[in-house]
Point group: C2
Chain length 610, copies 2
């Protein structure tokens, strides 16, 4: 498919994970390209190839071979295998670049907080002191029997857990002088420690396609000890889920690679939160991971190939407790990770976590929940029924396929007001010069253009308006920011508007089908809960104006940020909430939109502008 | 400790696993030394270093550096790392050599059959056909739920088993066109196969310190499909258990090595029995392994260090079911291996298997069971009580520490009659020239010497007798076979006799203490069951004559050969017998002989000759 943005003779440089693209017509070093795109790479030496700070990876495309500086840095361990120095790398054709977080001057904004706090802490993890009598020639009791008879009722999950536990327990018993501590999940022994642990921590993680949000929690009190968001390293293998599923489909080694880089990333973020909280990873005794179905399957190393095509079959739809040792995750040996149930198709356990933390199923209210992303999950509760669906809204709201689009990172325009003359007034994340525009900004632009009549009822830019012109390929563009000394020109094209209208159409038609299916009218809806990073910065009035949301009183609409993360924390900290989540998972019906009667009609209505 | 056999200026070459020693005073190649000791090494080229067949390993001691031939064979993969060619290796000081089975012309005799057949076959392993409905867009059921709802009541052991099973099941379901077969242990699913398995086999193994006896069984019928005995490769790290425990104690890597060579040997013997039965290892769906406590702990990679010294603490005293994948054993993925309970100290699950297969606990008879080895386990049943003990009888009955001693291998004298003049008449295993004497032969010699009055009441050789002389170190020796053209001289020394009397004393005092403890008199004993290879060739009358066994009517004494292997087969093939074994394990009391009052007096009585 030809790229909709590129004109003849030009090429694009795409920077990930920030998601910004630069169009060039001359060869350029990646350091210069990043500068032009407004991305601040670490660069102590000023681009002389002697500091080694501007390391990047080329995901796709051609460049010059590594220079002598780079070879030296590679041998010295400063560059990793596959990395290049941006200042030493020249490109002349389409390339895709991944910037590791360590090479960025300022970090991408990654939302890690949801709105809900956990009311009721009831972690099943506890620690019990145990006193044993040492064995003797006259009472030569086996270590296992000695341990289990000191604490009747406690048990190991199975014989293999006994075997692996016995590889370390005997030394612990003797080092602890037969006074030891059992870390248990209810009555199941997870580990035996020679001393009382200084902290008992848990980790809740929302494994998103784009970002991994990680919460280090104190299990007894529910206090948040550290929070960290990192980009999902799988981005290098496809921005959206389908691209990654296709990558995995090509061969088993690639599928295994997508599994192992997720595990590596989790171990990295564990080090990071532990460093912040000044604890060791061994203090983490419980884990809860949520994510969409593809992330869930990649994480657990389950076959993902059957998710990639109809009927999009999941391998498992129940919650799983998996020993961290089996997955290679850091933490207290013997700990397990809880994976809440995925729902169906692409509707994963992150959606379950969102609904759980947003009060779905708590009462009989009619409510609408939307988690906006590349795939948008939508759920409606009516009485005892909860129906969910997934719609491929695409990455436009995250800035992809938009000429000046980017994710919500420093330099992104996040809010726009347009005055009656058509002049724009913008808010930029981080407050500096604008380098691009993120989803909430684009939505604002479209709603404001419509209100000012610069965009007509059919969603076309008014070619007569003073701020509307045409580009080289005769495409209509609205000039959001004219070029100046320190500021690149930023425009919104008719194609950009079409992309956003398609995306909002996918969401609106999903809402409409669920409402039709459950016979819900606009006025029945008591509340609309919008989750996800984009949802937090979204202007709800603008979303209604462009027809993304039904026309409801604004007070009914609320944004909850990382609601999936909040749900993961809830399930980490309370076994009652795990049970509630498992009940909720059984309650949620999944609707495959493509199979719904008159789906095409709903979609056509959905993309309409008014 | 100075070697009791060596004189000044001489050195010894010890060949394992056959257990024979050659005393030399001049440098010699190992091929010549093996020839002189009567061991037939493979040797196609006649010792020219060009066939590579006479590979051996030097376990201890010095030799010349590898020659050019050896380096070439090593590079060509004909020699393994650490191996030498016997014909290219010259020694001039004490060495210990391990001969791999592949380098021997004739194989060591390894007893693999016990006396009992399994009456009642009731394997818990069965195979069920399952039909599933393929998932569809309108019924997008997860693979796991699809499978479990097709066969209600069936389950996987836990979530981690679900996860690993789901790595292969989805492809199996689709390859089997949704008509598949579940291999189950009762209601627990072990594996899903796309086709009905051609054979359902099980493997029973007696993991002895010296030999590993392996039985490939047909699970539905109990038929023996193949039998194979191989030497335990751990022999290279110590002939007796204590030596191996001490080797393991030195560092974790050495302990891990003793674990991994056992697993390798098991996989090798699996290949061998499968080759013989013309099946693939994947046809093996159930396993039962018995062995002494040290073998049990080495096999399961449990810490063995606490077994090495008082109070000889075991890590576990219950039966364990361990997934073969966790141990790295070949077989049907998802299969488990059953490890019956060890009893206490050095009394392992092989002893339990012996007692189970010998009818202990079946009725109220008073019976005595003896499993003779380097460690001898003894049990007495009286009514509902069964008491066991272990005694360090040492390796003399297996030919070690005896000047011309060797194991029961071709060339060993296994039976001896001495005529009134003192001339010996010998039976040699395999029928050729004698190269040494094994345990049953030595026992015969001592009993016959006693009967002929050549050995007095205090166990001393009569120096006046024509067949008794003294050697260089003034030690009395009895000439069993005088030297001739094709025959080395074979003698029995006073030291050899002392070693055997010590060994029989350990056994007799164990029997006496158990009888004292349970207040059992000779006449109460209804039957004596003797297990082990040595026991099978033992002349019971001679054993009574030298005071090893109480003076009982010979019809009460029976040898049962590899009774531990027979018990392993029973527990492999019947879940009722597994339960009976678990019950028996709880019933058996363990008596630590060293803690018994007047132990020294019992031992002094035990070693007495009459």
């Amino acid at each position: 498919m030809p790229d909709p943005i590129l004109s003849e003779g030009s090429f694009s440089i795409e920077f990930q994970p920030v998601g910004i693209r630069l169009i060039c017509s001359e060869p350029i070093t990646l350091l210069d390209a990043a500068r032009q795109a407004g991305i601040q790479l670490q660069n102590v030496c000023g681009g002389k190839g002697i500091c080694g700070k501007c390391a990047i990876q080329i995901i796709e495309g051609e460049s010059n071979p590594p220079t002598r500086s780079e070879t030296t840095f590679l041998k010295g361990g400063i560059l990793k295998e596959g990395e290049r120095l941006a200042c030493e790398t020249t490109v002349h054709d389409n390339v895709k670049i991944f910037i590791p977080p360590t090479s960025l001057e300022s970090k991408q904004r990654l939302q890690t907080e949801g709105r809900h706090d956990i009311q009721e802490i009831q972690s099943p993890i506890h620690c019990e002191p145990i006193h044993l009598n040492p064995p003797s020639l006259t009472h030569p009791i086996a270590d296992l029997r000695n341990l289990l008879s000191a604490q009747p009722g406690m048990y190991f999950e199975n014989d293999e857990r006994i075997r692996t536990a016995l590889q370390t327990i005997p030394a612990v018993l003797r080092n602890g002088n037969w006074d030891v501590y059992a870390v248990c999940n209810q009555n199941e022994i997870l580990n035996i420690l020679p001393e009382k642990p200084a902290a008992m921590l848990g980790l809740a993680v929302d494994v998103g396609s784009t970002k991994i949000a990680c919460f280090l929690m104190d299990l007894p009190t529910g206090k948040t000890m550290a929070v960290k968001g990192i980009p999902n390293p799988q981005i290098a293998y496809g921005e959206d889920i389908m691209a990654r599923l296709e990558y995995a489909l090509q061969n088993d080694a690639q599928a295994a690679h997508l599994h192992s880089i997720i595990i590596e990333a989790i171990n990295e973020v564990i080090n990071s939160v532990c460093h912040e909280a000044k604890v060791k990873p061994q203090a983490i005794m419980d884990f809860c991971f949520v994510g969409n179905t593809a992330m869930h399957h990649f994480f657990l190393d389950l076959p993902s190939k059957y998710l990639a095509s109809a009927p999009f079959t999941m391998m498992v739809d129940q919650a799983l407790n998996i020993p961290i040792d089996a997955l290679g995750i850091q933490g207290m040996p013997g700990s397990k990770a809880y994976f809440p149930a995925p729902i169906a198709g692409f509707v994963g356990s992150d959606h379950l976590a969102f609904l759980l933390s947003s009060g779905f199923g708590d009462d009989q209210h009619t409510r609408l929940g939307i988690d906006i992303g590349t795939n948008t999950e939508i759920a409606i509760q009516k009485g005892d029924r909860i129906v969910s669906c997934s719609t491929a809204s695409g990455p436009a709201f995250e800035g992809a396929h938009i000429r000046f689009g980017m994710r919500a990172a420093p330099g992104a325009i996040e809010h726009v007001r347009i005055d009656p003359e058509g002049n724009a007034n913008v808010d930029v994340i981080g407050g500096g010069e604008a380098i691009g525009i993120c989803g909430s900004g684009i939505l604002d632009v479209i709603a404001e253009l419509k209100q000012r009549g610069i965009l007509n009822q059919r969603g076309r830019l008014d070619r007569e308006h003073a701020h509307v012109s045409t580009d080289d390929s005769n495409m209509r563009i609205y000039t959001l920011i004219p070029p100046s000394a320190n500021q690149r020109e930023i425009t919104i094209s008719q194609k950009d508007i079409d992309q956003i209208l398609l995306a909002k159409g996918a969401i609106r038609s999903g809402i409409a089908i669920l409402m039709d299916y459950l016979k819900v009218k606009d006025e029945d809806i008591a509340e609309v809960i919008i989750a996800g990073a984009f949802g937090s910065y979204l202007n709800p009035q603008h979303a209604i104006q462009i027809g993304m949301l039904p026309d409801l009183p604004l007070h009914k609409i609320s944004a909850v940020g990382n609601a999936a993360g909040a749900g993961a924390k809830m399930m980490l900290l309370s076994s009652a909430l795990r049970q509630k989540g498992e009940q909720l998972a059984k309650q949620i019906e999944h609707l495959e939109l493509n199979t719904y009667p008159d789906f095409d009609m709903f979609f056509a209505n959905g993309i309409r502008f008014s």
